[in-house]
């Protein structure tokens, strides 16, 4: 496979409330930031991720094109998925060999709706959605199936929120406290906060990657898998699709300095840690992760950006990023980011 690297990453200062900006207004500065960072005003391919249901109106991605100022017309596509999957599509497109750069972005304002109820609409409309099971309730089913110690989950939230307070882009959330349940066994602080935000990444292939960044974060492997939808058909305490994606991406082929995991509920961290077989010494979610800022539809892309940032900064040699979609970690994407290209053996394909 062709060497492709993340060469620039930008994100908004995420907020826990609606600041009055439209999605396009929120996105525009982030696009400008990666354009400035790379000096590129046009890209070989552009791909984005967003969700109409967050706004309750069709075509969220159409107004994003206005933020881009897509003129002259651009080669562009959109996934109704987290933008991490848009990055995957762009990585595939760069493998064709005829273009060298791609812009990827994602955005979402979950403050304007009732996210946990909206997510119910993602379930099978005939057999599951009519039960009224909301996102927190089905996550609680998974947390119960896992049955982890409360002190372990509290520590995950405490660490994530402390790291988030040190991250200027994440929310400032206090240390977890309180004994009440949101939906047992989940406490309110186990749940990723409602967040508005956007993020953008620039991918570059071959020589262009070295020209645009001193330490490009090379995509050593990237893969994703989905598993059955019905919760009753899965062992909710495990994530075989994350494990398969991690194997295909080659996570276990070397040490992992940093892992950014798309953990929307505290109990998902041990599930993912086990599925990805991450070493004990791997630093998990140093950005604070989604438990400190969760701009839905950009959250997974931000994991790729935050993991890449550790390599772009020269601090890490090998990092892992994870993104998820669907109820109870139904679909998982895993990427390995490396400080050196793996062209000799070719990136693992997916």
């Amino acid at each position: 496979m062709r060497d492709v690297a993340i060469v620039a990453f930008a994100q908004t200062t995420h907020t826990g409330h609606d600041t009055g900006l439209t999605e396009a207004e929120m996105l525009h500065p982030v696009i400008e930031e990666v354009r400035r960072a790379t000096g590129l005003s046009r890209f070989g391919f552009t791909c984005s991720g967003s969700c109409d249901y967050l706004a309750g109106a069709p075509f969220s991605f159409v107004s994003a094109l206005d933020a881009l100022g897509a003129w002259p017309p651009i080669s562009e596509s959109h996934v109704e998925m987290d933008a991490a999957f848009a990055l995957y599509e762009a990585w595939v497109r760069l493998q064709h060999g005829d273009i060298d750069s791609a812009l990827v972005y994602g955005f979402g304002k979950s403050s304007t709706g009732e996210l946990r109820e909206i997510m119910t609409l993602q379930l099978d409309p005939y057999y599951l959605a009519p039960l009224g099971l909301d996102q927190v309730s089905y996550a609680a089913l998974q947390a119960a199936a896992l049955g982890r110690d409360r002190t372990e989950l509290d520590e995950i939230v405490r660490r994530s929120r402390a790291d988030g307070r040190a991250n200027p882009h994440a929310l400032d959330l206090p240390d977890p406290s309180g004994a009440e349940y949101e939906v047992e066994p989940l406490r309110p602080y186990d749940i990723a906060p409602i967040t508005d935000g956007a993020a953008a990444i620039v991918l570059a292939a071959g020589d262009l990657a070295r020209e645009l960044a001193e330490n490009p974060a090379y995509i050593g492997g990237i893969a994703h898998r989905i598993e059955p939808h019905y919760l009753g058909m899965r062992d909710l305490s495990r994530s075989p699709s994350a494990a398969d994606a991690a194997r295909a991406a080659g996570v276990g082929k070397g040490p992992v300095d940093v892992a950014e995991l798309h953990v929307q509920f505290s109990h998902e961290e041990p599930i993912l840690r086990a599925a990805l077989e991450l070493p004990e010494d791997t630093v998990i979610n140093p950005s604070g992760g989604p438990l400190a800022a969760n701009p839905v539809m950009a959250t997974g892309l931000i994991r790729l950006g935050e993991a890449a940032r550790r390599i772009l900064d020269g601090g890490a040699r090998r990092a892992v990023a994870h993104a998820t979609s669907g109820p109870c970690l139904q679909q998982n994407l895993v990427a390995v980011l490396e400080s050196a290209p793996s062209s000799q053996e070719g990136a693992r394909r997916g």
């Binding site: 439209t22 706004a55 107004s63 017309p73 596509s77 959109h78 760069l94 993602q122 989905i226």
Partner: protein
């Protein structure tokens, strides 16, 4: 373009107003199994699944690919969901093809659908405050002014739209999957129907359909059966609200066509392409796209339509299947164009087969005529 890629299977459902006998999952599975049967394969032979559809508000299911994973045999595999407005069916085919052209997979199942009977299309397509001024006019009301501007510029006579409506519906009578079947349709019948959005009459618009379309794509080494080889693939998008945007013949459409023609070595589309499946949801978009796609000089597309050049027995048949005017499960409509183009060059289009078709264009557009997806397929290996 990367690795060679071919369509080796096509599956469609019979398009109709309401499929009350199947769930959404049942609908997509029906198309998928027909495409796999056509390729002589099963779900086990598929590496990845790509799903496309228009706004989720059509069925009230958010990101339905999660729920459809089981019905499409995707569990344990990569699955993606594409959404690029009306062009999505075409874009979905291109995203699937990209996985093969990029050397990532050998066999990809692409499925697009809409079950419009679950909702109201005009509602599901209308933005509202604070996201945009609510016109509450649906797609027809949005595009009618662009058509009137085309008529003003080109001086096209008023009856051209009715000719397209008649031609496409007559073709639909030869397509077993087509939704609208109107035996005896003629110009007088079209002109007797109510005016919906001047100059678009009732029979000059597309229907709302339930339906799904699926294709199986393969790398060169994984080809089974009869391949339709992809010779060119391109997408282009432009902003909706750019001042001075040419909405009658959008630049993104011209650029997208130029890109696929360059890849496929097409220099004169009317001569080099044998049959075209072009996204024409309102009759007048045939002459408009004839110009945008370079089949006719500016302001002269209507003359090709009037002279019968785009009829099944014309020199450049457009929408031999009956087109979007005859079947319109919105999210699938683009993929149907791409699939019908493949059927033609595989020689498998049945009664609406264009004899000797070797090279075909599949086209889709969406949004405010701002998203374009196209491919060129051929029975010859590139």
């Amino acid at each position: 373009m990367g690795e060679r890629c071919a369509v080796i299977g096509v599956g469609q459902t019979r398009y109709t107003t309401k499929r009350t006998d199947v769930s959404i999952a049942g609908l997509v599975r029906e198309a998928a199994i027909r495409a796999l049967d056509d390729a002589g394969l099963t779900f086990a032979d598929i590496d990845a699944v790509v799903v496309g559809k228009a706004p989720d508000l059509f069925e009230g299911v958010m990101m339905p690919e999660a729920y459809l994973a089981d019905a499409l045999g995707a569990a344990g595999k990569p699955m993606m969901r594409v959404h690029t407005a009306g062009s999505v069916g075409g874009s979905t085919a291109l995203v699937g093809a990209s996985l093969i052209q990029g050397g990532v997979h050998d066999r990809v199942l692409v499925v697009a659908f809409e079950k419009q009977s679950e909702s109201n299309a005009t509602w599901a397509l209308s933005t509202h405050l604070p996201f945009g001024a609510s016109l509450v006019v649906g797609a027809g009301g949005y595009f009618a002014p662009h058509i009137r501007e085309y008529m003003r510029r080109s001086g096209a006579p008023d009856h051209i739209g009715a000719l397209v409506a008649v031609k496409d519906r007559r073709n639909a009578l030869k397509n077993p999957y087509a939704h609208l079947r109107i035996p005896g349709i003629d110009r007088a019948m079209v002109e007797s129907t109510p005016m919906l959005w001047e100059p678009i009459r009732y029979l000059e618009t597309c229907p709302s359909s339930d339906g799904a379309c699926a294709i199986v794509l393969a790398s060169e080494k994984a080809v089974t059966g009869t391949p339709a080889w992809i010779h060119g693939a391109a997408m282009r998008s432009e902003p909706l609200t750019r001042a001075g945007r040419e909405t009658v013949s959008p630049q993104a459409g011209k650029d997208c066509a130029a890109d696929v023609y360059r890849q496929a070595g097409v220099t004169d589309p009317r001569r080099d392409i044998d049959v075209a499946e072009v996204y024409v949801p309102f009759s007048w978009y045939e002459p408009m796209w004839l110009e945008n796609l370079g089949f006719a000089p500016e302001n002269e597309g209507w003359k090709l339509t009037e002279a019968g050049c785009t009829a099944l027995d014309g020199d450049i048949p457009w929408n031999a299947s009956g087109g979007v005017l005859s079947s319109n499960p919105i999210g699938a409509s683009g993929l149907i164009r791409f699939a019908e183009a493949a059927l033609q060059v595989r020689g498998m289009a049945g009664e609406h087969q264009v004899e000797g078709a070797a090279t075909a264009l599949g086209h889709a557009y969406g949004g405010g005529a701002q998203f374009f997806a196209m491919w060129i397929v051929s029975n010859r290996k590139p």
